[in-house]
Symmetry: C2
Subunit: 380 residues, 2 copies
């Protein structure tokens, strides 16, 4: 099997991999994906191999793109940073979008989502926005990007003033080993090739970093931004993330809008974070009351909105708008959505200049049904 060869798996490991049914198709064959012969993704972690790892048999041979590793979260800045890092930390803005790995296979770029799907929409966007220059000189590197903007199939956000979709590089990694470049190298490569990068907000002495980050996080929160990723400048130590109260509230607002589609762990962990931040930020009575209100409001406003939708006979839906240059890619994306198990309705497709604009609504069936049942008189 080409996967075992590519990863150097033993016979024994190969057998276990098959038994566990971890490998899944990662794309829908189509002329738009002309460089790809067969692509598999790891649907779960397997030993050292991260979930979302992609093994692509291409016209130019087999390529491995390792899954993006989970970034753990600091619940307290002090003493977590001091214990986890050495000497200095780089404080990078954490942008709020979806995680995309961009690599070159054969002649073209391909964009992989967190779970390892090759997404037609994101692929077309990155070919336009990112381009091949960087990969001509660095064929074995992967750009790990946050795809951010209002035209996002997963996390539509208005915050950044990006009406379409942009890619912000936050890591550059070696394809096969997943080894990240040091921050300095990453930033200078981004500059050299004109790539947007998640901004480095500060390089701080680890002993003072917690104080500085409290201020940064408060400021980012007021601007509606998500938070920071704290990194070892050499990228030898795993990074940690830390988010603003406003982002936690935003996540809760989203999760409770679609409360029956989301895991309770998602809500729970975000609520607990608020408790730790409130404690560590040592806030006064007024700030604390604001935080309480923000938390309650983010939850109840969304719940009320969804209940109201169903009361008015509608379904709970998420509206998504995306642009496509190639009409065939639009159709391919619709097929991709179907394949990944999303329930949706295509509401409108219209021509706008050189683009076909797709309006699709994701239907939150479980939340809708739950609300409908209680509004209809079913007890819990």
């Amino acid at each position: 099997m080409f996967v075992s060869d590519a990863l150097g798996l033993s016979r024994h490991a190969e057998k276990r991999l098959e038994e566990k049914n971890i490998l899944r198709d990662a794309f829908i064959p189509h002329s738009f994906f002309s460089d790809l012969i067969e692509v598999l993704r790891f649907d779960k972690k397997f030993g050292e191999i991260e979930e979302g790892t992609v093994i692509a048999k291409t016209v130019k041979g087999v390529r491995v793109v390792r899954g993006f590793p989970k970034i753990r979260r600091a619940l307290t800045l002090y003493p977590t940073l001091k214990q986890h890092f050495e000497k200095e930390v780089a404080v990078e803005e954490k942008m709020n979008g979806y995680n995309v790995r961009i690599a070159r296979f054969g002649k073209n770029l391909y964009a992989m989502t967190r779970r390892g799907y090759i997404c037609p929409y994101t692929t077309e966007r990155c070919r336009e926005k990112v381009g091949l220059d960087f990969f001509k000189d660095n064929p074995d590197l992967v750009l790990c990007c946050e795809a951010v903007g209002e035209e996002s199939p997963f996390v539509p956000k208005k915050v950044y003033g990006i009406s379409e979709l942009e890619f912000f590089v936050f890591d550059i990694r070696e394809m096969r080993t997943n080894a990240p470049l040091p921050i300095r190298e990453k930033m200078s490569l981004c500059e050299e090739y004109g790539l947007k990068a998640a901004p480095i907000l500060e390089i701080a002495d680890v002993r003072r970093a917690h104080e500085i980050i409290v201020e940064i996080v408060k400021r980012l929160g007021k601007e509606g931004r998500e938070g920071v990723v704290i990194k070892d400048p050499a990228m030898k130590i795993d990074p940690l993330k830390y988010t603003t109260s406003e982002a936690n509230a935003g996540d809760l607002s989203y999760a409770f809008r679609y409360f029956n589609e989301y895991g309770k762990d998602f809500m729970f962990s975000r609520i607990i974070r608020e408790g730790f931040q409130s404690f560590e930020f040592n806030e006064d009575e007024k700030e604390f009351r604001e935080r309480c209100f923000r938390l309650g409001f983010s939850i109840l406003k969304s719940l009320r909105e969804s209940i109201k939708d169903v009361y008015e006979g509608k379904e709970v839906r998420e509206k998504i708008r995306l642009r496509f240059r190639d009409f065939e890619v639009l159709n391919l994306f619709i097929e991709h959505l179907r394949k990944t198990g999303v329930t949706f309705e295509v509401v409108d497709v219209r021509k706008e200049g050189e683009y076909a604009i797709l309006h699709v609504e994701r239907i939150m069936r479980s939340t809708t049904d739950k609300i409908k049942s209680h509004l209809g008189g079913s007890p819990w």
Copy 2:
């Protein structure tokens, strides 16, 4: 086996019951429990037999006390009540304490908790507060009570102005069949024997009940009380419960104080209730903002308090004060706590008039450890 005989189980059912390991010891043998030879409780539901059902081999023969059935919750008052009930409903106050079934075995009263344990503390209290009169005339009936007050091992509450512990009858049921008496009969028996009962606040036409209950629930909320149980006066239809926003917030406050001991479902369901109530009560902007703040505050205040406790080197603990007439019962209760898997520390025992006052603190190990780990620098 005396259990199968008492319940009339088939050989097949008896075998399944054994295989599933559902029957557990319900008490610790002691002279205080002198009427009891062997008592078993159902640790899970088994066919028709409710969780918490107790089968007692006593000096006077075998007796069955069925488990108290789960009361489902109305998420919306309208149209739930109209659909669920017929003609009229009785609106009973739901008191906030712990569920206790009181029955006579042999010469004495015994108090069973929800899960079917014979609790030494509650048993001693009910012998003093409830007495045998009712049971002399009605040996086959069970008093289903809410045990309420500041001296509660499970739900210490100041709300009702009860500094010790009182028993409020909310159902009277037949031991073996679990059939409840109609409301009117229940209330007149309570009156006849001088038993406290959960108050009936209203008998309402089912078509108007939702409007009346909105007003009742708002009023109860302001008084810090829990809510209502809505019942068919004939008790032929299962009751439904409905709680105040303040009680939901109170539950959340309690649950987040001890957040790692509690199931996420507990928090989640209470938050969802608030969404439905907010929608149905059609509240204005000011009321809605108050509800948001109440929700956020109930959560964050508790979280902060527990984090602060651990930060100051303490454990997260719940303080409980109980009185015992008989010092041996006090010791028996401590043994009972240990047996039911509670981690606790006896902080003080002192004589106060005719009573021994026990101060015990329940130690919330899981919450304490979780907080300690994050305060110590562990990422999530």
